[in-house]
Amino acid sequence: MDHVSVWLGAFLTLGILSFLYKDNPWYKLCEAIFVGASAGYWVIVLWWDNLVGKFYEGVGDDPALWVGMILGVLMLVRLIPKVGWISRWPLAFIVGATSGFWMMNYLGSNIIEQVGATIMPLLSTQVGAGFDAGVWMILSRLVVFVGTFTGLVYFFFSKEHKGAFGTTARVGIFFIMITFGASFGYTVMSRMSLLIGRIDFILGDWLGLIN
């Protein structure tokens, strides 16, 4: 079985990589298998973990799950045109509950905490610590302040980007471009890692050429 699975893995890996040469039937086959297997996998996961695990088996422990079940069924009445409007109720519940949950999360973690981390004392390591910050810390905080300020100025479109305002916005573009560059660099590293993983499989697990 090991032999079959490793050859199958190699066949599919090389099939996907063959697209680099040109689009071909081998690639199409592997792509179709990948899409089909992924869809099948998720159907099974959702069936056993959500419907069977959460509802069929779990409803006895937690009667609140009935609410979810009823809302879920109501969502499906969209298929019946005469009463399709009822499906808006569960949809409204989902939109309201999800936005409420996320609003609180983002407000706390991504706005308040981040604003707090941006407005730091320039010459102190923390509030009330005296003048104990090193040169690099001072520089780092200046960069954060200038980057945040100029970046925000760039996204302020109510005033024409001219003169001092335009220069500030241009500095903001530099910070944004550096950020994009860092993200791109990390993305290249990530994609290379995936390729290395596959090459390691081909040369190691399949062909036994490397350790």
């Binding site: 983002y106 973690s109 954060v144 990530s190 050429l209």
Partner: protein, 338 residues
Amino acid sequence: MSTRAKELVALLAIVVLAVIAYIRKVGGAGPIEFSSTMSVVVICLIALSLLWILVLTIKGRLIGRRVVFIYVGVAVSLPLFMSLTQKVSPSPEVIQLYDAITELPEGSKVLISFDYDPPSAPELQPMAESIIRLCMQRDLKVIMMGLWPQGPQQANLAVEKVFEDTAITNKGLKYGVDYVNLGFQTGNEFVIQRMGSSFESMFSTDYEGTPYQELPLVRNVKNFSNIDYSVNLSAGFPGTVEWVQVAVDRYGVQLGAGNTAVQAPQMYVYLDAGQLKGLVGGMSGASEFEDLAEYHGKGTKYMLSQSFAHVVVIAFILIGNVAFFLGGRKSALKGQEP
């Protein structure tokens, strides 16, 4: 010979070579390893060929995209045969995660959430292995779980790998007492929310189906307040962002994160704000952590390929720019011609 015939011959050659290599492997032949001298020669040859491509570009002969693919493939593959190792310097965020684990007293409980699947394993599995190994080495209790369906399987693979080390095996660690895999739970960030009040409500059994109360390690773990440190290994949603927003900011969990390189830049804001206590980003982060933990696994092994590939990519960016500017200049000159 027609193009189709050439393609078939190339395919046949690949199959024949693969079969020969496979027979060699089944026959018990060992791996191939380049000596240091051979490795240096190979590196020099690649560098020279890149220079040659640069010269060709300057002369106006442009190469096709397939040549770039071949070079990237070669840059990734050849270092796997080399005996060279790359020196890494651990970054402050990786040191922070390492320190957070090593400063925990013996017997502390570490929760590791495996929120990734096999496609992200080349980056995250080395982190998982070295973090679990470090925890076990320092007699910390490891509780594993996953918000991704394949996460707990990755956890089991990591534990299997760690147990290949006799130093860990000799400790006589017992499942359910020293480490446990609680398995996958559907519900994304809401699982974290519910774990804030009760772990058992989300994981009534472990991965193998053993009831929560029959697992000595977690029997008395009610919620996050009984966890000393948490690590989230994440490749997307749900992942570190959700753990920070719910577990850290609502329940005060001490959290470190291991992320794919794509995700890592987004996490630095949480690190700087003190919401994350340590961050290991991508394969380079994994190799840095392995260096600190004195365990040279796949992160270290892959790093040479990673660096080679980056050098090749940078070289082709330079060559591409040369082609672009020379092409532009020629076009401009052509435009001036009467």
